[in-house]
Amino acid sequence: MAIKQIRLPDGSEVVIDEWLHYQQFSTIEFAAATAVNLRAFTYVQGQQIPTQGVVPGGPRTATESDTNQVAKTRMNHDEAYLCYALTYEHFALTNAEVGEDPATLLAPAPVLLSQNLRRLQRDLVISLVVGANIKKPQARFPFSRIGQSIGSPAFTSTQALAVNTAFSYGTGGAMTASNQRRFQLPVYIASDRVFYLEIRSFPGAIADLSQAVRMRFFLDGLKRRPVA
């Protein structure tokens, strides 16, 4: 059990906290031609990753690489979080191709085609909801407004990479650590408080999306951990 308070001999109390800069992350997966309505941070390692549509290999069991949540859909009872920003990284689960016999490869998995990322930016709305049965999100943005600060830039040659290959890869802005929209007023997630991140396509199926996608969302901020 964590030490939270110490009562001194003179009767005064000292509250012990350890706050550290810590990214909390969670993964979702969805196929092309699906109306995405998924919730991240709703599972822990060993449970199924929220998945929509038919993705290669089917729904997966979460590993350490998919989430560092230790409680489902809530902040652990001896932890708390001050969220200053949201960000993400993306990985395609299928290739993007066009034409037949032979097809032209546009983006081999895990590369996400730049137009596909733009389609996600157009249609997805991301909501951070804190509290049980609370409708008002603490943060909500169309996906385009969330900068991508985690991922790889690419440094390409100017010529075609290979026969029948026309490569294109996209990131949500320049790949720098500063490319995330910092909340001037942070969002506080108290201990044991229900929270989740809703990822939803309000127009329905994402038009023209041609790849299945894995997305790993990050809360960036300060986490209070127990002092053992």
Binding site: R140, A166, G170, G173, N179, R181, L185
Partner: protein, 230 residues
């Protein structure tokens, strides 16, 4: 209404609780087609109403606007302090295949560089608050999106035609690329708010779009919003 407006303390003082957030921009959408149009007004409708300029008066969803109520004003239980107006552009549909530009467009929703320059050349953005004053009247390019996709290409092609393409964006694609106002715009609860998207020449000249296709402009007020405390 189960909503906290005021709290009276034992000493007689009153507190007005407010939930201020910087984590939910206020946004609205309009759509531009080819041909002349006088003006399209963003923030003139609430969620669920039809989008100005859209094909068949498309009904708005949360992907288009988060303004509630009848539009043209901020709800009475909200306030806005905006430090930035950012406008992003998507192509919905295709460019005109019969009369193509000299450079092929990318696939939707990317906007070709030629069309983006035409929009930036001809569109004015006019912000009206309280219906008595204008607070902006500048070209579209001033209101950089700060959103978009940074592309890394190597002989990339348009999937429709198989041609190489050139893509544009309303300013840089990173968060820091949107322009911050040195003096913020304040909109009180219940006060009028609208942003007119107006083509100076009466239309966006030479905008290359297929009939029934549109340029979708999504406008964001970024800053602080006061929301109701339930």
């Amino acid at each position: 209404m189960a909503q906290l407006w005021k709290i009276r303390l034992p000493n007689g003082k009153t507190l007005t609780p407010g939930d201020w957030t910087s984590a939910e921009d206020l946004y609205s959408t309009v759509e531009i087609g080819t041909g002349s149009f006088p003006v399209l007004t963003a923030f003139s409708y609430g969620r669920g109403a039809s989008i100005p300029g859209s094909v068949a008066q498309r009904q708005s969803t949360l992907a288009d606007t988060n303004l509630e109520g009848e539009g043209n004003r901020i709800p009475e239980n909200e306030e806005l302090i905006a430090y930035s107006l950012a406008i992003e552009v998507f192509m919905i549909g295709t460019e005109n295949v019969q009369f193509p530009d000299a450079i092929s467009p990318a696939d939707a929703p990317d906007v070709s560089l030629l069309n983006m320059l035409r929009l930036q050349r001809d569109i004015l953005v006019i912000t009206r608050i309280a219906a008595v004053k204008e607070y902006t009247r500048q070209p579209l390019g001033v209101f950089a999106a700060g959103t978009g996709v940074t592309q890394y290409n190597s002989a990339a092609i348009n999937a429709v035609s198989g041609d190489p393409y050139v893509v544009g964006n309303n300013g840089g694609t990173s968060v820091c690329d949107s322009r911050q106002m040195a003096s913020p715009l304040y909109v009180a609860g219940g006060e009028g708010l609208a942003v007119d998207v107006k083509p100076g020449p009466g239309q966006v000249n030479n905008l290359n779009l297929e009939v029934g296709s549109r340029m979708r402009l999504r406008l964001f007020f970024e800053g602080y919003r006061r929301r109701p405390v339930a």
